[in-house]
């Protein structure tokens, strides 16, 4: 818990330095958060190459709207909200071409796996099971259980109350367990 708080404080310090015009702070911030945000974008797009594009687009947006980060507030939800919006804009812009319902399992990129269910099956099975979850539940589950955001922060990213975010993530975990148990039997 203290580690999380220290990490968040370090990110906030980098963000403030970046707002003050420090390019090194931007590069360090990128180094700290690009990996998790890429994982999040992969889970949304289910297309590794597209996720890389959207990661770059996310940071271009971050740069453009860096003044909207309010000092003293957590950085991660702010970043994830921008990444999510970039994905939503991309999805709307591309329209039907982008629908990934028909994506083959072997096309799935390396999506992060929640530790809560890691003991139930191997990584590959979990990723395939994750892909079967409804997108809203998968998103809440990943943001909380994998990206480490609190339910309050997940709610802020998704435009929900903390309670609604918790419910979505919980239902996601229950459904994921059900899928994995079904596969095991």
């Amino acid at each position: 818990m203290d580690d999380d708080r220290e990490r968040e404080a370090a990110l906030a310090a980098l963000m403030v330095a970046y707002q003050d015009g420090n390019v090194m702070a931007f590069e360090k911030l990128y180094g700290e958060v690009a990996g998790p945000i890429l994982g999040y974008l992969r889970s949304l797009t289910r297309d590794a190459a597209r996720a890389e594009d959207l990661l770059q687009e996310t940071f271009l947006q971050v740069h453009r709207v860096r003044h909207t980060y309010e000092r003293g507030r957590p950085v991660k939800p702010w970043l994830y909200a921008i990444a999510r919006n970039v994905f939503l804009m991309y999805r709307r812009a591309a329209g039907r071409l982008l629908r990934h319902e028909g994506l083959a399992d072997e096309d799935l990129p390396d999506v992060p796996v929640p530790p809560e269910v890691e003991s139930l099956a191997d990584r590959d099975h979990i990723q395939k099971a994750l892909a079967q979850l409804p997108p809203d539940r998968r998103e809440a589950l990943l943001l909380h259980h994998v990206m480490g955001l609190s339910f309050q922060e997940v709610g802020a990213v998704l435009g929900l109350t903390a309670g609604a975010a918790k419910l979505r993530a919980h239902r996601g975990v229950v459904e994921l367990r059900g899928i994995l148990r079904g596969k095991a039997t």
Binding site: Q19, Q56, V65, H67, E70, N85, V86, M89, G159
Partner: protein, 235 residues
Amino acid sequence: MPATPRPPDELRRAVAADLRPVRSLVSPARRMLVTAAWVPLAIVLVLAFLGLRSDAQQLGWPMTWGPLIVEAALSLVLVALALAEAVPARSPARGRLAGTLGVAVLVFVAQALLTRSASAGVAVENPFVTHGFQCFALQVLLGVPALLLVALLVVRAAPLRAAWAGVLGGAGAGLLADGIYRLHCPITDLRHVLPWHGAAVLILSLVGLTGGAAWERHQRRRMAERLALRSRATP
């Protein structure tokens, strides 16, 4: 140990090209005060050029100024929500937004009914038609500066769901204009108030919604162009 990711060259160039220090936005509630500054000015304009409603004495102070205070307070809440909507990770829950818009509709109708019960107002021959368009146009005119202020504040931030921010800002500006214009309009007949004054609130909300949606489309198009350009540049 995995290497720390480094920003791609294109991103580094974009960042290096514009590294001026930026000032962090103040909270939505404080930025909302910019719109609040329009309220006293608009009241003075209405009273100076149009005059206080002729049934003000019959209504008394609470029923003349009370609806304005309630509508202005609620409209500023709507504006604050629109401004919060324009900051990443500050978006209020959708239920809260829809609930506040619902309350705005109820307040609009309730104060029309209360005013009607307190004063018969000025009787006109055909309340649905007489002075209808005039009230509508003047009320919209009063709302436009407030809407422009909100739009400016929203665009200066980073509206992720700009259509929501637009409809909230438009409804806030519309409700504010309604409260202020009622200081002048002495017609309390619901066949005049609900369609014409209501239409002014509605039209400003729709302008906000349409403007927000257009902004979203513009942002999407720009992003699609950048992505297309990047994919063409990638061998």
